[in-house]
């Protein structure tokens, strides 16, 4: 007997703005948040990114002064998203105190750490600025959120590259489904840093222009930054306290390629098993799905493999299932991507809105039959949607989300 898992709170920080309403407005308009890189100088093929606007990251923090001074941007993003989600869900101090906290992170405060490292190596600082080196441990954003918001249940920080926060959500949903937790805050947060930017660029994985997922001429991904948070809650608990059930996490699936450290499995074996396991766990056939929020990174390989997986699972029905890539608007936010895309998917279900794939100029002829929701968001009544994430090393996670009345 498993418990129903509700989503009762959402929070998000991205290039489209510092809250869920700003994100939703951007989905309707089809705004692209990918602009020339300003945070640091980079000499290479690409020079665009989806940066969080400056005014979003600066806000009052409920921590002591030394801890506040040491916050990285990733910590601030995580905290902003977590606060919005907890407020949205109406979690009081006692509900927060008992809640579990599962996070996804890939580089946390690497931007601050790499700068402290550079200064010490260049002789600008005689010693390491240890306070900045402390930004790096991946457990830091979750510790910041836990201590600032008083969240003292079980805690975990997952790092499976680009599926990190999707895994955090899956972990939280599993804990609730099995009756081990009543409230879980699931978050993902990452910030742009030179290491990641130069790394992806050296792999020639970055599109020199804003990324064009599913476009015939796509040349790679665009990096982004941000955070998202979801309050997951036992649905009975949520209803008993009068909280609004915004969506249900109906199922989740996790599977591994065991194929390559960067490339996806050529047939998407792990991604397919994750999708099938998520639908199986939800007890839903593929026909029930009305929208797919794709991983859609915009690399030649990813989009090909992803469409192949969707064709295998949805068959002839795929042209009638809208598929879109949020990464075309907010960039690839790495550890935050899964959570941001889960928030987008809940917004889609709740507001009857198909999120768009922007920057699409010419559809790849291999999938000219598909509805990729080009340019701007579109109205549609949705009941069930899936969102998929795949990380370097072949770590795949799929979530099935549904409107409460759809099940």
């Amino acid at each position: 007997m498993t418990r129903a898992v509700a989503v009762t709170g959402l929070g998000v920080v991205s290039a489209l703005g510092g809250n869920v309403d700003a994100l939703a407005a951007g989905l309707v308009d089809g705004r692209c948040g990918i602009t020339p890189l300003r945070l640091f100088r980079h000499r290479g093929r690409a020079n665009v990114a989806a940066e969080v606007p400056e005014d979003v990251a600066g806000f009052e923090v409920a921590l002591d002064a030394p801890a506040t001074r040491r916050l990285s941007r990733a910590d601030r993003f995580a905290l902003a998203a977590a606060e919005e989600a907890c407020h949205d869900a109406g979690l009081d101090a006692s509900l927060r105190g008992a809640a579990a906290l599962y996070a996804g992170a890939t580089t946390a405060g690497m931007r601050e750490t790499e700068e402290a490292y550079r200064r010490q190596r260049a002789g600008e600082d005689r010693r390491f600025r240890v306070s900045r080196m402390l930004a790096t441990p991946l457990s830091t954003p979750a510790a910041v959120v836990a201590q600032a918001l008083g969240i003292f249940g079980p805690r975990g920080t997952f790092s499976t590259a680009c599926s990190s926060s999707a895994l955090a959500i899956a972990a939280g949903a599993e804990a609730i489904a099995r009756g081990r937790a009543r409230v879980v805050l699931a978050i993902g947060s990452d910030q742009l840093c030179r290491l990641t930017y130069a790394g992806f660029d050296s792999l020639q994985a970055l599109d020199p222009e804003p990324c064009r997922p599913f476009d015939r001429d796509r040349r790679g991904l665009s990096l982004g930054e941000g955070a998202a948070a979801l309050v997951l809650e036992d649905a009975d608990h949520a209803r008993a306290r009068g909280a609004r059930v915004r969506a249900l996490v109906a199922g989740h699936g996790t599977a591994t390629d065991a194929h390559h450290v960067t490339a996806p499995h050529p047939e998407g074996a792990g991604a397919r098993r994750a999708l099938e396991a998520a639908l199986g766990g939800a007890g839903l056939p593929a026909q029930a799905v009305g929208y797919v929020n794709a991983h859609g990174s915009g690399t030649r390989h990813n989009d090909e493999v992803e469409v192949a997986v969707l064709r295998a699972v949805f068959g002839d029905r795929l042209p009638h299932v809208p598929v879109s890539s949020t990464k075309s608007q907010v960039g690839h936010c790495l550890a935050a991507a899964g959570a941001i895309e889960a928030v987008v998917t809940v917004v889609a279900l709740e507001r009857g809105l198909l999120p768009p794939t922007v920057n699409l100029r010419a559809l790849d002829p291999a999938w000219a039959d598909l509805d990729l929701v080009p340019r701007a968001g579109r109205r549609a009544s949705l009941g069930v949607a899936v969102t998929s994430s795949s990380g370097f090393g072949g770590h795949n996670v799929t979530l099935v989300l549904a409107r409460p009345e759809a099940l």
Partner: protein, 378 residues
């Protein structure tokens, strides 16, 4: 819930490659702390370094020849654990096998050389970048071992090893995996030693270290059916948070005690997190004393003095706790002078006697407790 058996232990430590040198060293009361070679920097001379590993002994695919050191430590521990358990992967479907690894800091050495080159020439190194992804050990090990079930990588500072083992135990207990490899790895290098020195991080008795430990976890019934040796059972526990500064040790002994009390109530052995830093040792001692209550004096040992202090040291502590249960031998505390006299600390020589249950007490900065409870199998 399915009972979770530990059927294999793989350890790569400053004592050497394998469980035997690790356990023999601990039981003999030896310390693997020596003059540092690779990681030595002015002001940090002593530490627990792992001897150089032969990549080809552990990595078989051409891809894995590019493996980084932290991933190699983890992969080596995985292979040693599988061999110790009688190669259990051969008998399960790949999608029913799981892998959960942890690391506090991941691949330090190549991250630094990548940044050095980036700052000098403005460009990254494409062959190295995949190794800098935090979950590289998970990727390499899943590819090398052909594991396609649910996998996870956890980073939890000083309790990264315990976090991974607890998560893996949960996957077996919930019936999601028939075999799960769970553990962690962290490496030591010169830059980390410099940072620790500049932070005055090793003023206590314990020295920095490195290493990896991985446990093979299986449903106990399945393990018994195949005639596997069962070292101990892991009792899944989700851990808990307590108030703390973001980068500080927990300060509220009572909050830690409340979480530990049900775990230590009938434990025969506590493997303490104690690492010689006053802030940690003080709160841990207060919490244990309160959790145990008056009159309860289980054996206490602390082993970071022997194999060094690092993010995944708790995975090695858990391996030692499983061995203590399996062999009825408790290794003595290393550098134990700082341990609280309120406790029955195992000092000097190993102690023989039945250990029915052991708790690895795990505390991390930022206010996270990730204790592991192990029970005897029978």
């Amino acid at each position: 819930m399915t009972a979770v058996a530990v059927t294999g232990i793989g350890v790569v430590s400053a004592f050497g490659v394998g469980l035997t040198p690790f356990w023999d060293g601990l039981v003999a009361g030896q310390s693997a702390v020596r003059q540092l070679a690779r990681a030595r920097v002015p002001g940090v001379e002593l530490g627990a370094e792992v001897p150089a590993l032969d990549v080809r002994a552990f990595a078989q695919t051409p891809l894995a020849r590019r493996i980084d050191r932290t991933s190699l430590l983890a992969l080596a521990a995985c292979r040693l654990a599988l061999a110790d358990a009688g190669e259990p992967l051969a008998a399960v479907a790949p999608e029913r096998a799981s892998l959960v690894l942890g690391s506090a800091l991941g691949n330090l050495g190549e991250t630094e050389s990548f940044l050095d080159r980036l700052f000098e020439r403005g460009a990254g190194i494409p062959l190295v970048f995949p190794n800098l992804v935090m979950n590289a050990p998970l990727s390499y090990a899943s590819i090398e071992l052909g594991i396609t079930g649910p996998t996870a990588f956890l980073s939890e500072g000083e309790v990264s090893g315990e976090a991974a083992i607890a998560w893996g135990a949960g996957l077996v207990a919930d019936g999601i995996a028939d075999v799960c490899l769970a553990g962690g790895a962290d490496e030591l290098d010169g830059v980390l030693c410099e940072v620790l020195r500049d932070a005055r991080g090793f003023t206590g008795g314990t020295r920095p270290g490195e290493g990896a430990a991985v446990l093979i976890l299986e449903p106990q019934a399945r393990a018994e059916a195949r005639g596997a040796r069962v070292y101990a059972r892991v009792v899944p526990h989700a851990g808990f948070g307590v108030p703390s500064g973001v980068h500080r040790w927990p300060h509220d002994g009572a909050a830690v005690a409340a979480g530990l009390a049900p775990l230590v109530a009938d434990a025969d052995l506590i493997v303490a997190a104690a690492n010689g830093r006053a802030a940690l040792d003080r709160v841990e001692a207060a919490a244990l004393a309160q959790a145990l209550g008056p009159g309860r004096r289980p054996a206490v040992t602390a082993l970071r003095g022997a194999f060094g202090d690092f993010g995944c040291a708790g995975a090695l502590a858990t391996a030692a706790a499983a061995m203590a249960i399996a062999t009825g031998t408790i290794p003595p505390a290393a550098n134990a002078a700082h341990l609280d006299t309120r406790f029955d600390v195992v000092r000097g020589e190993a102690r023989r006697g039945r250990v029915r249950s052991a708790v690895v007490s795990a505390l991390a900065r930022g206010g996270l407790c990730r204790p592991i409870r192990l029970d005897a199998a029978a």
